[in-house]
């Protein structure tokens, strides 16, 4: 069945190249400027080509914040503008998205959340037809995620040892100038930049990269009803190798107004970025193209094969979370991921989002330390039916706001 899916992808590439569909979602212009520390306002963006991308609300898994779930019920997709530039050593991205409210996490509050954005790359070598799972990667296919959020100064508790400066100022013995000096010192040792980078191979495994490697430079700025976020990083380091003709990238944005954080976000599918001057990236670009099957026939096949028994299929169906909801799957899953998941459900099984959060409905069992999906294996499907089903599933996405 592995063979079947590979030959299908080969067929899809061939079809795509015949139809001349091989344009990347984003084109990274080659520039001669240093990109190591550039922000969203850098001049280099004047030379860049902007593409429109769509970010879809994450609905595959349920989260347990009641207010946030209410605020995000029937969330619509968002449009954003993205540009990229590279100079052969570094690559930089700029994303601009509309957000009517500037939400900054600050002050002595327990229930406010920050706006922010993330950029995801596959970690290490990647194969165009088996990219990591879009949500935090999957076992054996890790991802690196860069995150920048509008969080005002915060204080890392570990490793600094300066307990005295963690005191409430009113519980110090200080007054006047001494107290001012104390407060200044507290401010100075706080972290004013939230920027973080993570490596993950599935939900829950996400681990912050704090090994001292200077990975990236991400900036975030708000201007007239929208955010601008920039990320610059080297094309190659111990975690990623992006120095190819074309690379996959995915974006996510968070809206603090809707109590967004973590999985409560809008995200893209894997998008292709062609790096100008790096050769022919058509293999990856084609692999990310949508399936070409018959949508109506696919819808019927999804119904007759009983997918709705465990998955919420259309947004109008009742969510049951016996399996991941598919109501926005077309927004953020590639055709090759859908093919792989139908033919071989155990190929990509992400660890349960919440440990025993759905203990009544096991998404997978563990056999000899390996996750085995409880989904039926559909490897017996004929190639055309599969392609039709994938084409239908790719139409399942929220409308754009």
């Amino acid at each position: 069945m592995k063979k079947l899916s590979t030959s299908l992808i080969a067929a899809a590439w061939a079809a795509a190249s015949l139809m001349g569909l091989q344009t990347a979602d984003i084109v990274a212009k080659k520039v001669n400027t240093d990109l190591s520390k550039i922000s969203y306002s850098a001049d280099v963006w004047n030379e860049a080509v902007f593409s429109e991308i769509t970010l879809f609300p994450q609905t595959s898994i349920a989260l347990n914040d009641k207010k946030a779930n209410d605020a995000n019920a029937n969330a619509k997709a968002k449009k954003a503008k993205v540009a990229a530039v590279h100079n052969g050593i570094q690559i930089a991205f700029l994303i601009k998205w509309a957000d009517g409210s500037m939400n900054i996490q600050s002050g002595y509050k327990a229930d406010i959340y920050a706006d922010g954005f993330a950029v995801q790359f596959p970690s290490g070598a990647f194969k165009p037809d088996t990219l990591p799972y879009i949500g935090m990667g999957s076992e054996g296919r890790p991802v690196v995620v860069h995150l920048q959020k509008a969080v005002k100064s915060f204080y890392e508790p570990n490793g600094k040892g300066n307990v005295y400066y963690q005191l409430n100022p009113n519980q110090t013995e200080l007054f006047n100038e001494e107290l001012d000096a104390y407060n200044k010192k507290v401010k100075a040792i706080g972290s004013n930049d939230y920027e973080k980078a993570f490596i993950a191979e599935g939900f829950r495994s996400t681990t912050e990269i704090k090994d001292g490697t200077d990975l990236s430079y991400a900036r975030l700025g708000y201007k007239t009803d929208g955010w601008m976020g920039s990320l610059s990083r080297s094309l190659k380091d111990v975690y990623v190798d992006l120095n190819h003709a074309a690379i996959p990238v995915a974006f996510a944005v968070w809206d603090g107004e809707k109590l967004g954080r973590d999985g409560l976000k809008h995200l893209t599918s894997w998008l292709s970025v062609s790096l100008e001057g790096n050769g022919d990236g058509s293999a990856l670009i084609a692999a990310i193209q949508d399936a070409s099957g018959d949508v109506a026939a696919g819808k019927e096949a999804v119904a007759t094969n009983g997918c709705a028994g465990c998955h919420q299929v259309e947004a109008t169906d009742a969510p049951n979370y016996m399996g991941p909801s598919l109501s926005n799957i077309g927004g953020y899953a590639t055709a090759s991921y859908l093919r792989e998941s139908i033919l071989s459900p155990s190929s990509v099984v992400v660890p349960g989002y919440n440990r025993n959060a759905h203990s009544n409905y096991m998404w997978y069992t563990e056999e000899n330390g390996k996750r085995v999906s409880t989904m039926t294996d559909y490897s017996w499907l004929d190639a055309q039916t599969l392609e039709n089903m994938v084409a239908y599933l790719q139409t399942l996405k929220a409308e754009v706001e």
Partner: protein, 383 residues
């Protein structure tokens, strides 16, 4: 499930609501570093809104099928209460009495709610049938913790050696699903460090053979601490032998490990003329059933019959335990258990980080976390 479970029993018949436990905990852990509003230990009046306000109505926990339930994250001002400070600083520059428009100290925020805000209000009408009792609450260090289940980052873990539930602050990203998931609302968001924090059952004290500060300081000696599988411990006897100590809101499905001896006695009601109504009790049994489940009937029956036995024969092991003669008997922690655990781990006590993530797999290098007891654990990998 952890190999062993440390548990606490609180005898509600003896709690006088003095808040010494609250203060012991606050000065030990939560008077600084963004925790000022938190009360890892609080004592609330029941019936009442409690702390945070109406916590029993904020969701979390599991349904009968074992699925995690959605919950609400309380608001700091409205539900927890802002810890206000007075303008002590002005003492050195202003005369706060003479010629001052607002004489005396004034709070920097107008207080609208706080822990113990509705102290002693209770329910019923004074004087004929009003009633209340005190309910001290800490983290229940549950066997099936709602907070742990809700965390999308594996940042909450339950220690193998004693079942203490801890937040791995190195992994926590401050998403706060844990707060929604905990039906007791005993895990808090620290805005200063943007991470969640909670009662740690004073594990650094416990590892040295000392009981948690709240239990040590309790003037009424209502708190017993010990391992649930230690048949010599008074905790074991109260929970398993006599079955007079019961978990709070076991219907939440988290299997709490703090147990309560329910209030057994309550005064009689008065009639319209202020005369005692013989045989009446002010505290409705339904309230106790709601808090402690159907086992409360047998628990009360056992306590009453042991009281009677003590009166008649002068002997009752249960009454002797509940009288709490000696701290040494109430707390059974030492016996070198933690020293043995440490020895098995190369003479290091357990780090307050999730050991599953100590060894790096994907990160190029690990980063060191320094702890007070000198360990420099390498964290930052995964699996």
């Amino acid at each position: 499930m952890s190999k062993r479970q440390l548990a606490m029993v609180m005898d509600l018949n003896k709690c006088i609501g003095c808040q010494t436990c609250t203060v012991a905990c606050k000065t030990q852990w939560t008077n600084r570093n963004g925790r000022e509003y938190m009360y890892w230990n609080n004592v609330e009046t029941y019936p009442g809104a409690g702390y945070p306000k109406n916590w029993m109505e904020l969701g979390g926990g599991f349904d009968a099928a074992g699925d995690l339930q959605a919950g609400v994250i309380p608001n700091l001002e409205a539900d927890y209460g802002v810890p206000w400070d007075y303008n002590y600083d002005e003492l050195s520059t202003n005369n706060l009495i003479a010629g001052n428009a607002k004489p005396g100290f004034s709070p920097n925020v107008e207080p609208t709610w706080g822990p113990n805000w509705d102290e002693d209000e209770g329910a019923g009408m004074f004087p004929q049938d009003n009633y209340f009792f005190y309910l001290p609450r800490i983290c229940n260090h549950c066997t099936n913790p709602g907070c742990l289940s809700a965390c999308p980052r594996d940042a909450i873990f339950k220690r193998e050696e004693d079942g203490v539930v801890l937040v791995d602050l190195d992994r926590c990203q401050g998403y706060r699903y844990c707060i929604a998931g905990c039906p007791y609302k005993k895990i808090y968001f620290n805005p200063k460090i943007s991470k969640s924090e909670k009662c740690i059952l004073c594990f650094p004290r416990v590892e040295q053979g000392l009981p948690p500060a709240c239990a040590q300081q309790c003037v009424g000696r209502i708190r017993f601490v010990g391992f649930l599988d230690d048949e010599e411990s008074q905790v074991y006897k109260l929970v398993h032998k006599y079955k007079v100590a019961l978990g709070l809101r076991q219907d939440y499905g988290t299997q709490p490990n703090v147990y309560y001896v329910p209030p057994t006695e309550s005064p009689a009601k008065f009639d319209a003329d202020g005369k005692i109504i013989e045989g009446s009790t002010r505290l409705p049994i339904e309230e106790l059933e709601k808090l402690f489940g159907p086992g409360v009937h047998d628990a009360i029956k056992t306590i009453k019959s042991e009281m009677q036995k003590r009166k008649e024969t002068g002997e009752s092991e249960l009454m002797d335990i509940l009288i709490a003669y000696q701290h040494a008997d109430m707390f059974r922690l030492d016996n070198n258990y933690y020293q043995e655990v440490a020895k098995s781990k190369g003479n290091r006590l357990a780090p307050p980080v999730d050991t599953r993530y100590i060894v790096g797999k994907h990160t190029a290098g690990a980063h060191a976390i320094n702890f007070y007891h000198g360990g420099d654990f390498k964290a930052g990998g995964h699996h």
